[in-house]
């Protein structure tokens, strides 16, 4: 009972702090100086029509590198924990039969989903989307394969090779920016092209393809390590 009362007091204090923030919030009528700098100079400096992409890849490129690293470490720890758990379960694999509708639909939908994912990360500098979204969409396709065909095995070697190559590619593109242009992850060492065309924005499409493959393979490896021994009844 005392514990509940303490929790309530804690929560009331939290609400008081938050409501102080909330009452004085009136929204903004114009961009702050930093954001208006990005809006005015972004299209000419970076050449990407999607300004979020410009911020993610070039202006705040270090954040993205750290984020990909965190995701990699999380996937590695999940794999480590679940692999050691699966090692000593020797029960025979009895698979539940999936419905025919799901199997037929997945043959039709999975290639389309993969293509949509690739489209999203290739066009990341022009339309809403990019490496993270494209990778997540590709992982959704993998999820559909797992649901429709539980017996299918993934090639672990291929997944880890893809992940390593795309990670190294991302860093190499960053270092090329440092050597050939003004700074780490600067995209201007390739021609910026015309704003709004597919082959524009320097190195951004290449970096986003690497990020897309990396995020897709990391999420796939999380799903795969959770899948192991999943389908016994």
């Amino acid at each position: 009972m005392i514990k509940k009362g303490l929790l309530l007091i804690l929560l009331v204090g939290f609400v008081a702090v938050i409501s102080g923030l909330l009452i004085n919030f009136t929204g903004s009528n114009e961009l702050n100086p930093l954001a208006s700098y990005y809006a005015e100079k972004g299209p000419t400096e970076v050449g990407a029509a999607n300004l979020v992409t410009a911020v993610v890849i070039t202006y705040r490129g270090f954040d993205t590198l750290g984020e990909v690293t965190i995701l990699f470490i999380a996937a590695a720890i999940v794999g480590f924990f679940l692999k050691t758990m699966n090692a000593d379960t020797n029960r025979p694999l009895r698979l539940r039969k999936t419905s025919e509708i799901l199997e037929t639909a997945s043959t039709l939908l999975v290639p389309t989903i993969f293509m949509l994912g690739a489209y999203i990360f290739v066009n990341g500098h022009l339309t809403p989307g990019g490496g993270f979204q494209g990778g997540a969409v590709i992982a959704t396709g993998v999820m559909m394969i797992i649901l429709a065909r539980p017996a299918s095995q993934f090639n672990h070697k291929l997944i880890s090779v893809l992940e390593s190559i795309s990670g190294i590619g991302f860093v190499v593109m960053g270092v090329l920016g440092l050597v050939l242009a003004s700074g780490f992850l600067n995209n201007a060492f390739l021609p910026l092209g015309k704003l709004g065309s597919l082959l524009s924005a320097g190195a951004i499409p290449i970096i986003y393809v690497f990020i897309g493959i990396k995020v897709g393979s990391e999420l796939t490896s999380i799903l795969d390590s959770l899948k192991e021994n999943q389908n016994e009844i």
């Binding site: 929790l7 804690l10 929560l11 939290f14 609400v15 938050i18 923030l21 909330l22 919030f25 009136t26 929204g27 903004s28 009528n29 114009e30 961009l31 702050n32 930093l34 954001a35 208006s36 990005y38 809006a39 005015e40 299209p43 000419t44 029509a49 999607n50 300004l51 979020v52 410009a54 911020v55 993610v56 705040r60 954040d63 993205t64 984020e67 965190i70 995701l71 999380a74 996937a75 720890i77 999940v78 924990f81 679940l82 758990m85 022009l126 339309t127 809403p128 990019g130 993270f132 997540a136 704003l195 709004g196 995020v215 999420l219 999380i222 959770l226």
Partner: protein, 124 residues
């Protein structure tokens, strides 16, 4: 009252209440999976709050195209920086949720229980 009837204020209020619900769930629920669900709600609420801060009145998405010209971009678009941060935050949120669930599985294997009161190893 009328000053509070705006899109960004309503979104921010939703986000803050979602944070409080998530926190309440995290400190009152006994089931480990409910704890992770509370964390996930907290995460979503925090992201909604940050995106609602990025909104500028009557703005559009920060993408230069036919509707938004380069010259007038600064007066028409929403703030791209918080949106970029939330973008990475969502992906990290998934990674952390998966990590927490892996810990839950591991803990369940040790004690065969999802109740947090049965984990008394650190209680003295």
């Amino acid at each position: 009252m009328a000053q509070y009837l705006t899109l960004e204020f309503i979104a921010m209020l939703t986000g803050f209440i979602l944070i409080i619900i998530g926190l309440w769930g995290m400190i009152t629920q006994k089931n480990l999976i409910k704890l992770v669900i509370g964390f996930s709600l907290f995460d979503t609420g925090l992201n909604i709050v940050i995106v609602s801060m990025a909104y500028v009145k009557n703005s559009t998405a920060p993408i230069i195209d036919k509707a938004v010209d380069v010259s007038q971009a600064a007066s028409k678009i929403a703030d791209p920086v918080p949106q970029a941060l939330v973008l990475t935050s969502i992906v990290i949120g998934l990674g952390v949720t998966a990590l927490m669930l892996a810990y839950v599985l591991r803990m369940y294997r040790e004690k065969k229980s999802l109740d947090i009161n049965s984990y008394t190893d650190l209680r003295w």
